[in-house]
Every structure is written in C-alpha cells, then in structure tokens.
C-alpha cells in the first residue's frame, strides 16, 4: 500500500530530521568558513569539550521520562568537579578515593531532592531550584570562589589526553553511557515502568508499579550521572571551576527536549539527546568562529530550548488524543 509507505517514510524523516539539520548546519559553516571549520581537529575538540554537557543531558532525560525535573544537575556537576579538585589537589587524597566520594556526593544530592519531591510532595522544579542555590553556595565556600588547579594527571589521561581516532576518551564515555541508558529504556521492564510513571502516575500505580520508588531511583540516577559529568569535566579541564558548570544546564535541557523530537519522536531518548547536544555545540562553535560576540551564545541556547520544547509539543500534540 503506497499510502502506508508514505506514512512510514514520513515517520522515518521525522526520526532523522535532527541529524539532517545537524548535517546542514555543518555544511553551512563549512561554506562560510572554508578550510577552517570542517577539520578533524575542530570536531575532535568539539566532541570532547561537549562531553560534560552530553552527560548532563543524559542525566536529565531519566527523571524527565519519569515526569520530574532536575534543575540541580548543573550545580551537581560543579559540586562533583570541585570535590575532586579540593580533595585531590588541595588535600592530596589519591584520585582513586576521590572519584567515588564525588559520585557519592551526587547520589546524596539525588536523595535530598527525592526526599522533598517524592516524600514531602513539593514540585520538582521548586525543590531542585532550591538545591541548585544551596549547592552553588557550598561550592563557593569550598573553593573560596576560585578555580582549583593541579588535579591528578591520572584523571586527565583517562578523560582528555587518552585518545582514540584523535578524539578524547571523554566522548566514548558519553557513547557508552548513552548505550546503557538506551538498553535500560528500551530493553528492560524497568525502562517501561519509568515511562509509565512519567506518562500517568495513576495508571502506573494501579498497574502495581511502585511509583515512589521509581521516581526516587530516577532522581538518584540523575544525581549520580551529573556527578559523573563533574568527573569528566574535571578530567577535561585538569582543574575545578566553581562557576561554569551551570553553563551546561541550559544547553543540556535544550538538548533533552530537542532530542525528544528525533530518533524516538515523542519520547526523551539518549541518542536524540546526544545528537542534539552536538548539534547545538556545532552551531555555537560555528557562530563563534564567524566572530559573533559571546552574548549570542546565551541567546542561541535559550532560543534553542524554547524552540525545542515547541517542536516537541507539536510532535506530541499531533499524536496524542484522549482515549474514548
């Protein structure tokens, strides 16, 4: 049936539209910046430097799928990086001990968030906005508001200096993480339960799903992964900077929503999120190379977030109708 094929083709176009737009963006900047933009070095840097943002986007889609926001992932990333910096560079504790502590801090943030969100039943937006501020304050206290250098070269080697095909290991960690989340989302009952909880708490509850436990688990996961993003960030920079972690938050949110319009349209999904992170970064890198002033970055990211949500709203609105 040709009609059916047409429909199928339409779906396929929708799934890979974002990839197409990304390629078009690359093509555009390649023409605009001949010989400079389209180089392996440029892209290997892009792939590596955006790794923390990609980890954050992956962290975000987990609670988002379960119907909760976690704004604290940005601050959480900073906390983790700074914990590594302070304990490793200042107190000289071996990196092998420091990383688990940093990750544990992320889990703790997730626990605190989920206590107020799930147990006390405060909207997730409010709770994580609050914890963001708390963590940001703590980080300033820990660092005295200054960047801490001298993080162990072991971590730097593991994240940034170690390369495969000219790209830092950081990028491959992102891919590995995306694979794990993809497997969990698509190939385990747990993934389906998270999806049910996110779409309808009541249906999930009456289907025997422990809604509270799923939500807590998702918020702890996002805390853990945000901290992992902090580890990657510290490894890339070789230092811990108390401010710039928050800069990753907005693009990560934009990427999570933009990613939900592709690959598996209508659902937050890891591949869509990762592609979206690199698409946004490509745009910003290109614009910067064209000599556009720095403030454009903020405008670009903000506009991307609103546009992404708008597009995903249309994608969902078109398909979603009430039963009956």
């Amino acid at each position: 049936m040709p009609l059916w094929n047409k429909q199928k083709l339409g779906r396929r176009i929708e799934r890979f539209a974002l990839v197409g737009v990304w390629l078009l963006t690359i093509a555009f900047f390649s023409f605009a910046l001949p010989g400079i933009f389209l180089s392996w070095t440029n892209f290997s840097i892009l792939f590596a430097t955006q790794a923390p943002g990609a980890v954050l986007a992956l962290a975000l889609i987990i609670p988002l799928t379960a119907g909760d926001y976690d704004l604290s992932v940005g601050a959480n990333l900073t906390l983790s990086a700074v914990t590594i910096g302070v304990l490793n560079a200042v107190y000289q504790i071996p990196i092998g001990f420091v990383i688990p502590i940093a990750l544990l801090a992320g889990v703790l943030v997730g626990l605190v968030n989920s206590f107020f969100i799930v147990y006390v039943r405060i909207p997730s937006l409010v709770v994580t906005l609050g914890t963001t501020s708390i963590i940001t304050g703590l980080v300033q206290w820990m660092t005295n508001s200054s960047t801490i250098g001298g993080i162990s070269p072991i971590l730097i080697n593991l994240v940034s200096r170690g390369r495969l095909f000219g790209i830092s290991y950081a990028f491959y960690y992102v891919i590995l993480l995306a694979i794990i989340i993809w497997l969990i989302f698509e190939f385990t009952p747990l993934g389906r339960r998270i999806l049910f909880v996110g779409r309808s708490r009541e249906v999930a509850r009456l289907s025997g799903i422990d809604v509270g436990r799923v939500r807590v688990g998702c918020l702890i996961s996002s805390g853990f992964l945000a901290a992992l993003g902090g580890v990657v960030y510290a490894g890339l920079l070789g230092a811990a900077d108390p401010f710039s972690g928050l800069n990753y938050l907005l693009p990560a949110f934009a990427a999570a929503y933009l990613g939900a319009t592709s690959i598996i349209p209508g659902r937050f999904n890891p591949w869509g999120a990762v592609i979206a992170v690199y698409f946004l970064a490509t745009g910003i890198t290109g614009l910067t190379m064209l000599g556009i002033p720095l403030w454009v970055t903020s405008v670009f990211n903000g506009a991307a977030l609103v546009l992404a949500v708008t597009v995903s709203q249309f994608a969902r609105g078109r398909e979603e109708t009430d039963i009956g």
Partner: protein
C-alpha cells in the same frame, strides 16, 4: 452596590407568568435521541423536582439550559415569559437570571470563603478591589439566609455541608446581581446532596426554602425520591427522554415516584442463568467500614459475575478500589482462596502480585495511557515473560500483542498505534486484555462499558463472561442496570453505604435493580 430586589411573588403580574416554560425540547446525539420532546412548567417561587434514572435525559436537559448543548430545532424555553435564544451562548444564562449549582460546587478550596463568595464581582472589576465593600456584601448575602460562616476561613477547611450552602448562597446572590425587571430568578441545583451527610441535608433544605421564599424558583435535580418529596412543591419525572410523570408532591406517594422513574413493571423474563450457589467461593470481603461505605460481608465465587449497584453516592463504586488497595482503608479483610489479607496493608502492587485485577472506570486517567502504544499498554504487567538474555525481546512482544489484539478483536489491529487513537470500545478491549492475560483470580471492573460504543458493548460482555467461565471471580460495579442484568449472576444493591438488597437468578432485571435502588432510598 447590590440593591435589594423585591421578591416577585407579591407581584400578581409576575406570578401569572411561569418562571420556566419548556416546550418540545429534544436532543439527538448521533443517532440516539436523548430527549424526545419534553414539556413542563415551573411556577415562580416554586421548588420543582426533576427526577429520572441515568440516561433519562435529565443531565442533557440541564446542559441545554446552561448552553452546553444545542437542542434540536423546534423546541422553545421561556424564562419569566422571555424566550431563550437557543442555543444559548456560553454564560448567557446569567442574562436570564438563572444560576447553577453542580454537584462539585465549583468552589476553590484554597481560597477564603469571602473570595469564593465574591468571585464574580472580584474578577470582573476593572479598578482596584474594595475589600471592605466586598466583605460587607458577602456578609449581607450570608445574613439574608441566616447562615453563619467565617468569611476568612479557607474554603477547604469548612465542612462539606457548609461548602454546599456557600455555593448555593453564591448562586442565589448571582441571581440578585443580574437583577432585571422580571420578578425572580431560577436556581438550578444539580444533584447537590448525594455526598452530603444526612444531618446536613436539613440545613440545605432550609436554605432552599428561604431562596424560594424570596421569590426565586428552584429546580432540584436528584435521584433521591425521599428528598424530592421532602423539599419540592411539584416534580417532573423523565424516562427515556420523555416526561413520564408530572406530580404534585403533596399528593403523590413514594410508589408513584418509583413508577414514574422506572415505568410499569415488566413481566419476569425467563432467562436461564448459571446456578452459582454450588460454586466454590473465591473471595470473601468482610468488615469494611469507611466514611460512606460499610460492608459486612461480600462473597464472590469462582466463575461468578457479581454486580454491585446503587444510586450515586451510595458507595458501591468504592468497593473495588478498597479491595484492590487503591483507596487507603483502615479496616476490612479479604480472604482470597486460602490467603487472608488485611486490607489496611494492601497496595495495588501487592494486589497485582496476588493476581487481583482492577479495571477503573476513568479510562484516560486511571486505566490506560493514551500516548503510549497498544502493545505497551497491553503488556505492561507481563514484561518479565519477555526477558531474554539481551533484555526485552521486542519482536516477540509485538508478535504476542498482535496475537492478543486479534483474539480480543481490537480494531484496527495495529499494536503500534497509540491507545488514544482507538475508539473507546477498542481501547477498553486492550485494557481488558492487559488484565485478563494474567488469568486473574479476582477481576474487578468499574463501569466496564462506560464510553464504549453500542457495537462493542457485547464484545466486552463476551470477554468478561469468558474470563468468568475460565474461573475468575468477577465483581462488576456499575450504575448501568441494563448491563448488570445482562451480565451478572447476582447483584448487590447499595444504599447509604450498605448492602440493602441481593438479587439472584431471574430477579435480576433492569427494572428490579432500579426498583431496589430507588425503593431503598428512604432514610432511616
């Protein structure tokens, strides 16, 4: 700001014109005629009852009055001699001095009594709100009816009955605010009482009488014959879209009302029903005692389809949720085969593990997820069966879902479609399949054919019967008497939270169930 409008009752010109005159109002939905042309009048200053079963056309009529539905052309409604411009525009009923109080009252619980009472005035203001004037006006409105309420109390914190009074005072105040030259207004109370405690109803009636004494007419819509007999001057009864009775309350007996509502008794049908007395009991529910529901014992056998019914507010529909652990309860026991379960510790998760199934009535909110696919909705409970070495075997899930969709005759048979894109009946088949593939020991259904098209209804019945014949004990809560008569081997009728009647065998007819529901609504 609010002047006192003299009641229309003393004015001879006003009382000659009926407050409401309805003539030949009809309404067709698709092919179904919900109203087949009704006529009745309500006099000024009268409390007029409007009764009828579910589907009699009562609520369709109310929705025509409020402008929600457009009636079929040909009929007319006039209010104090002014013909309504049908169909009514949204909100236009105010211009005709009509006000509605629906069952859910339309109050905002987190706002104060004052804010709720004066919401129309407060939100319509273009300039600064004069809180002192609002407070004076609110106090006057309460005083007019002799009602004492703390204006600063949070509306959610006052009692249920006080909220109902507040809603009625507000509505009658709205009649006053839109005052015009023709006498009083019309206050329409749409099922205000089912969820009120008995002692509160007296206060509500007191208020209704005062409203009528001020010259407004009140239309009191209810299921409850005794309440209608207590408060109304006259009553109109609807049945199957027609006026089946027009009674002067004082002169009519309880039986006159029952006959109007359910019609003449039809001779007993001689349907043969499976004998359930010899069946083995599967589930015994005992000693549930919660506000609005009190159950001593309900037993349901393997292979039996037990109906629970009653009028709105009688509490029957709560039973499945309590037994499933979906509504928290502090009392009650369920014996399922040999297992004794304390319902206070029961949760939906545990019930699913024990292989108890509950299909809620609210399909979009509680039963299925419109935005997920048929396959995902169907197999959410059974995903473990599809775990392979490399996670979920997605091809097998799709194959199994397609097989089930075929077995349960889901149309269209494409399991990748979103559940929301299916018709109500087909979505219901998907959700029945979700539970039935587990071969539940106890299957509980709440209004299983609500929003299900007529064509699919029988298929849904067939599926339920099959589940029972394969050994499930089935409990079906419904206010659709015809459905219960079709489906059930036994029906328990509830009133005021208790089982008041058990119907078995050939006694289970639509009319007998209705009779049991209405006959037992007397207050003790």
């Amino acid at each position: 700001m609010i002047g006192y409008v003299p009641p229309g009752r003393g004015d001879p010109a006003a009382s000659a014109v009926p407050a409401l005159q309805v003539s030949q109002i009809a309404k067709t939905f698709g092919g179904a005629r919900a109203l087949k042309g009704i006529d009745f009048t309500v006099s000024a200053g009268e409390v007029h009852g409007l009764l009828g079963q579910n589907g009699s056309g009562k609520s369709t009529f109310v929705k025509i009055m409020s402008g929600f539905h457009a009636p079929d052309p040909g009929g007319s409604i006039s209010v104090y001699g002014r013909q309504l411009d049908l169909p009514m525009k949204a909100g236009a009923f105010r211009d005709y001095r009509m006000a509605f109080v629906h069952q859910h009252l339309g109050l905002v619980p987190s706002l104060s009594v004052l804010e709720n009472l004066r919401v129309a005035s407060i939100t319509a203001r273009k300039s600064r709100i004069d809180w002192r004037a609002e407070r004076v006006a609110a106090q006057q409105a309460l005083d007019r009816f002799g009602i004492q309420l703390d204006l600063d109390a949070r509306t959610g914190a006052i009692s249920q009955i006080e909220r109902a009074l507040l809603a009625i005072v507000r509505a009658s105040d709205d009649l006053r605010a839109t005052g015009s030259d023709h006498g009083g207004g019309i206050l329409i109370l749409d099922e205000p009482t089912p969820f009120l405690p008995r002692e509160g109803v007296d206060r509500l009636f007191e208020l209704v009488r005062r409203v009528a004494a001020q010259g407004d007419s009140v239309i009191f819509i209810s299921h409850d014959i005794d309440e209608v007999r207590e408060i109304t001057d006259r009553a109109t009864i609807l049945r199957d879209g027609l006026v089946s009775g027009s009674l002067v309350t004082r002169e009519a007996s309880h039986d006159d009302f029952v006959e109007g509502i359910i019609g003449r008794r039809i001779t007993r049908t001689t349907s043969t029903r499976p004998d359930v007395t010899s069946l083995e009991p599967r589930a015994i529910v005992t000693n549930i005692s919660e506000p609005g529901i009190s159950v001593e014992e309900i037993t349901v056998a393997k292979g039996e389809i037990l109906g629970l019914s009653g009028l709105i507010g009688s509490g029957y529909e709560k039973v499945p949720y309590i037994v499933f652990g979906a509504t928290a309860t502090s009392s009650g026991t369920l014996v399922l085969d040999d297992e004794k379960i304390d319902l206070a510790t029961s949760t939906p998760k545990r019930s699913v593990k024990r292989n108890i199934a509950l299909l809620p009535a609210d399909r979009p909110k509680a039963s299925g997820i419109a935005s997920l696919s048929v396959a995902e909705n169907m197999l959410i409970l059974d995903l473990k069966k599809f775990m392979g070495r490399f996670g979920l075997k997605r091809a097998e899930i799709a194959r199994r879902a397609t097989e089930l969709a075929h077995e349960y005759e889901v149309r269209p048979n494409d399991v990748s479609l979103k559940l929301g894109s299916l018709s109500g009946g087909n979505a219901q088949k998907v959700l029945l399949a979700k539970w039935l593939i587990r071969e539940p020991k106890l299957l509980m259904l709440d209004e299983p054919t609500q929003g299900v098209d007529v064509g699919t209804r029988q298929q849904v019945f067939q599926v339920i019967r099959k589940a029972a014949s394969e050994g499930a004990a089935v409990i079906c809560a419904s206010s659709d008497f015809e459905q219960l008569a079709d489906l059930c081997t036994r029906v328990l009728v509830f009133a005021r939270g208790r089982v008041v009647r058990e119907l078995v065998g050939d006694d289970i007819t639509k009319d007998h169930i209705a009779e049991a529901c209405y006959g037992h609504s007397q207050h003790n």
